[in-house]
């Protein structure tokens, strides 16, 4: 038979240590008494129920009472040495704050759900052969017969001109199958979204607009529903407004169900079709992938070959959306964890030495009958009080970090506007604080081992001989130094890579340039000559603004995230130059953008009508052709026309995508020849280009209000946007490394200074026996430097390993040469030695007589 009283006694473990120690015996005895008095099974069951409910109510109450007592005691303990407590809390606040802030971004990007209905079952079929390209019937046929998707939608994104009676706007439009909204589980904010058959020709002259567009262009007017709007000249009816912040698949303002009927909105150029789907219930991602591959193999087996340029894949929508920055965010998170661990090492140091200092107190309390669990509880509460206060303070810091990090989130996700600090993040911070508290609260006690009251009480100098804690403290210093060095090397590497980027020659001059775009889609300028007239008028207007020095225009401006089309171009009696970007420019462009003409000349106004129209190539092209600047006067054959072009000039190579990426070969043809439907104008100005923005914009809008003038900004602004990401990573890693550095230096200082305090007796004896103060200081310094040296060795290894990951942050990062290691290592070593030496000044005040006497 089970001894039920024993069971009851086990349950009493739920009470806090002190209470249990005091009343466990009495309570167990009373339970036995009651058991003896209970008659029959009914009374026994009643007794148990009563006992259980009693424990359920009173155990938490006693726990709270005892914990608050312990906390009050902890505060008193910390008040005795406020400085080290303040340092520990401050360190923790910074570290917990930084890691929580970065965690909030990580969790927003990688862990949380998308704001769509049952988002975990949404997938993207990247590079899939199943898209609008198969036509409405073909897509519907595949959709209804595939085995893994419940439903699928296909769409294509492009920029268009929106005219709705006011000034024309340039908007991002998603032409989609009618089921996009229902697939994502998104309801209209106003009006309705598309119905099933609305993507049929004849029924599809409708659009849904974004909440943002509704507010900005229509002033939130509810009567917008049913009104007409023109997209690139096509008349369509607004039937709904999307919910606030919904802009899937990214920064979209208009949705139209015209993906199978491209004639509705006339367009030219290339489209990219995308397909997303919702998995059938009960099917796993792995099964879906397998069936998808079978499906693709049936339709287009070639695309699955490993050498294929784009292999069709089925990926979770969230993974797809976060994939670009996933690695970067994880790297940043790891960096922050390093700082956190450096800080925790400091806190551990503090708690360890505190435990060592209070060895006597604990031995005494233990002799007076305090149980081991009682002391353990006390230490844990003290540690947790420290870490929780650190975490609470850290939340303020976390908020700042999250806000800073939030501003550089990729547009795709940032526009979904996640709340960055929510209960996930709060739980993270609290868990972090509690785990640290428990770990470092319990570890010292565990290290204290089995305190033997009888032997410890007599020994007044118990702290000098604590080899276990001493070794652990040295190990902690080594760890701190290793982490810090890893961070220092990383920031050194990132910083120098960033400086290289800043000083990269872009091939053009971003200062003093204003840029703006115009698009003639759907406007009254449709013939070549009408377009050319309009563009010439724009140029004239800009040129007439006082302070404008040069004006030109180009198809693809550097730093503006264009999707560039490249092809091979044959040079007469020379090689075929591959990967050439075909760009068009208006005379004056190169001067306006500050691209130097290396040889030849810019387009004149008279050249275009000659039988051999001129073309300007860049240096990369000239080099690729093998002729260099001598390419002037040679003919090249473009893929789109048999008519040869005559190379009239060579310009510097522009880094189109910013300093991170090398510029490729380009050929500029005169846009006058066949004016495109959109151009970017560049005006170089005297003085601050920002002052010219409004004027330039107004001058162009004044020409024709039905032509949208958009993205008016300075070229410097575009450069800044391009550099935002590298700048953010560099600044964060630098900042975190500096933080870790300060923390580690504080750690080294306090370790050395504690080593002296705790060995005062021994040092006193040494001095009394004739050791000079300098000798003592050197001894302490040597002992303090050993763990630092070990830390530096480990740090060098760690940093070498980290370099591989850092390269994912931005282009141009490589740990180059020994300097990247030597400089930070020496720096850290010198600072550590200096700090330890400064700490040893305490030796100067040791009075040997006092020190020896104090111990006896």
């Amino acid at each position: 038979m089970v001894d039920v009283a024993k069971l009851y006694r086990k349950l009493l473990k739920l009470y806090p240590a002190s209470f249990r120690q005091e009343y466990e015996g009495a309570m167990t005895r009373q339970f036995r008494d009651e058991q003896r008095d209970a008659k029959g099974w009914k009374e026994n069951v009643g007794l148990w129920l009563h006992a259980l409910s009693d424990i359920a109510v009173s155990a938490p109450r006693e726990l709270v009472r005892e914990l608050s007592q312990d906390s009050r005691f902890a505060v008193r303990v910390y008040r005795r040495r406020p400085l080290s407590a303040v340092i520990a809390i401050g360190t923790l606040a910074l570290a917990v704050g930084a890691s929580t802030g970065v965690f909030s971004v990580t969790s927003a990007l990688l862990l949380r759900r998308l704001p769509f209905g049952d988002a975990s079952r949404l997938v993207e079929l990247s590079d899939s052969p199943f898209s609008a390209g198969n036509g409405r019937a073909g897509f519907a046929e595949w959709r209804s017969h595939n085995s893994y998707l419940e439903s699928a939608a296909t769409f294509s994104i492009s920029e268009m001109n929106l005219n709705s009676g006011r000034d024309a706007l340039r908007v991002r439009v998603t032409e989609t199958s009618a089921n996009l909204f229902s697939l994502l589980g998104v309801q209209a904010h106003l009006g309705r979204t598309f119905v099933q058959e609305e993507d049929r020709p004849g029924k599809n002259h409708v659009i849904v607009i974004s909440h943002r567009l509704w507010q900005q262009a229509y002033g939130g007017n509810p009567f917008v529903i049913g009104s007409a709007a023109h997209l690139d000249g096509a008349a369509l009816t607004i039937i709904g407004v999307a919910p606030p912040r919904f802009d899937y698949p990214g920064n979209v303002d208009v949705w139209s169900p015209t993906v199978f009927d491209f004639e509705v909105i006339p367009k030219h150029g290339a489209f990219i079709w995308q397909t997303i789907g919702r998995l059938r219930p009960g099917i796993t991602m792995r099964q879906a992938r397998q069936e998808f591959e079978t499906d693709v193999a049936r339709v287009n087996p070639k695309s699955l070959r490993p050498d294929s340029s784009s292999i069709p894949q089925l990926v979770g929508l969230r993974d797809q959306l976060s994939s670009q920055i996933r690695t970067s965010v994880l790297i940043l998170f790891s960096v922050v964890l390093l700082v956190l661990m450096t800080a925790l090492a400091n806190v551990a140091q503090l708690l360890l030495s505190r435990t060592a200092e209070r060895h006597q107190e604990f031995a005494l309390r233990s002799a007076l009958g305090a149980s081991r669990s009682r002391l353990l509880q006390q230490l844990t509460v003290e540690a947790t009080a420290l870490t929780l206060s650190g975490a609470a303070l850290g939340m303020i810091f976390a908020w700042l970090v999250a806000r800073a990090a939030g501003t550089v989130m990729p547009a795709q996700l940032a526009t979904q506007e996640y709340t960055l600090l929510d209960w996930h993040v709060l739980c993270f911070a609290i868990a972090l604080a509690l785990i640290t508290g428990f770990t470092f609260g319990i570890m010292p006690t565990w290290l204290m081992g089995r305190i033997q009251p009888s032997t410890q009480i007599g020994r007044m100098n118990s702290v000098t001989s604590e080899p276990a804690t001493g070794r652990l403290r040295s190990a902690l210093v080594s760890l701190q130094v290793a982490f810090t060095l890893t961070l220092l090397v990383s920031s050194f590497t990132l910083g120098s890579a960033f400086l290289r980027l800043v000083h990269t020659d872009l091939g053009f001059e971003p200062a003093n340039a204003v840029t703006l775009k115009v698009s003639l889609e759907g406007s009254r300028y449709q013939t070549g000559s009408a377009k050319w007239q309009y563009y010439s008028a724009v140029k004239e207007r800009l040129q007439s603004i006082p302070g404008v020095n040069a004006v030109g225009a180009v198809n693809y401006l550097p730093l503006s995230n264009n999707v560039l089309m490249a092809g091979a171009i044959q040079v007469e009696s020379g090689p075929k130059v591959p990967g050439v970007v075909l760009n068009g420019s208006m005379p004056g462009y190169f001067r306006a953008v500050g691209s130097g003409l290396i040889a030849g000349r810019d387009f004149g106004l008279d050249l275009t009508k000659s039988p051999e129209p001129p073309v300007i190539v860049n240096e990369a092209f000239a080099r690729g052709s093998g002729f260099g600047p001598n390419i002037i006067g040679r003919r090249i054959i473009a893929p789109w026309t048999p008519r040869p072009y005559l190379v009239a000039g060579v310009v510097t190579t522009a880094r189109m995508a910013g300093p991170e990426y090398e510029g490729g070969p380009q050929a500029y043809w005169p846009v006058e020849e066949e004016p495109p439907s959109a151009l970017t104008f560049v005006a170089s100005v005297s003085g601050d280009p920002r002052h010219y923005l409004a004027q330039c914009r107004d001058a162009v809008i004044g020409l024709d209000r039905n032509v949208p003038v958009y993205e008016a900004k300075t070229l410097d602004q575009s450069l800044n946007e391009t550099m935002e990401r590298p700048r953010f990573y560099t600044t964060s890693v630098l900042f975190l490394a500096a933080l870790a550095f300060v923390i580690a230096v504080a750690g080294v200082y306090s370790t050395s200074s504690r080593a002296i305090t705790q060995r005062e007796h021994e040092l006193g004896v040494r001095i009394a026996l004739g050791a000079s103060v300098q000798q003592i200081r050197t001894l302490i310094l040597r002992e303090g430097t050993v763990p630092v040296a070990f830390g530096i060795l480990a740090g060098v290894a760690g940093a070498a390993g980290c370099g591989v990951f850092l390269q994912h942050l931005f282009v141009g990062i490589h740990i180059s040469g020994v300097m990247a290691f030597v400089v930070p290592s020496l720096f850290l070593l010198l600072i550590a030695i200096g700090t330890a030496w400064a700490a040893t000044t305490r030796v100067l005040v040791i009075d040997p007589i006092e020190a020896i006497r104090a111990e006896h």
Binding site: Y15, F19, E22, Y23, A26, M27, R29, Q30, F31, D33, E34, H50, A51, S53, D54, I55, V57, S58, A59, R61, E62, R65
Partner: protein
């Protein structure tokens, strides 16, 4: 913190179990289980203190200085096991009297407002 100088009023009102316990202890020393049984009997089994509640209250009263531990000895009515006995302190007595006075004034106030109820 267990000072008898502490204001009696700060400790009022007493919870019902504490009031009963102090009341029992004014009649002499008791151990925990005896207190429990006495209160059970007095209140017609309406207040049945579990061990946790009982010793929680005792712990608190000890801290507040309302009672003190007297000694450990066997209960002659139960068995030979040694039990911890508790004794009320002068402060405890003052507090229990003050609580009685507080209750009395409440009852008087109610009687004035509602009229003296008929004896049932």
């Amino acid at each position: 913190m267990t000072s008898s100088t502490r204001g009696v009023d700060e400790l009022l009102p007493l919870s019902l179990p504490v009031f009963h316990m102090l009341l029992s202890l004014t009649e002499g020393e008791r151990h925990g289980y005896a207190l429990k049984r006495e209160i059970l009997q007095r209140t017609d089994k309406r207040i049945n203190l579990g061990s946790g509640a009982l010793y929680g209250a005792i712990n608190k009263m000890l801290e507040q200085g309302l009672i003190v531990e007297s000694d450990e000895r066997p209960d002659p009515h139960l068995d030979d096991e040694r039990r911890r006995y508790y004794r009320i302190t002068p402060l405890g007595r003052r507090v229990v009297h003050a609580e009685v006075a507080r209750l009395r004034s409440l009852v008087e106030l109610a009687e004035v407002r509602l009229g003296v109820p008929d004896p049932v």
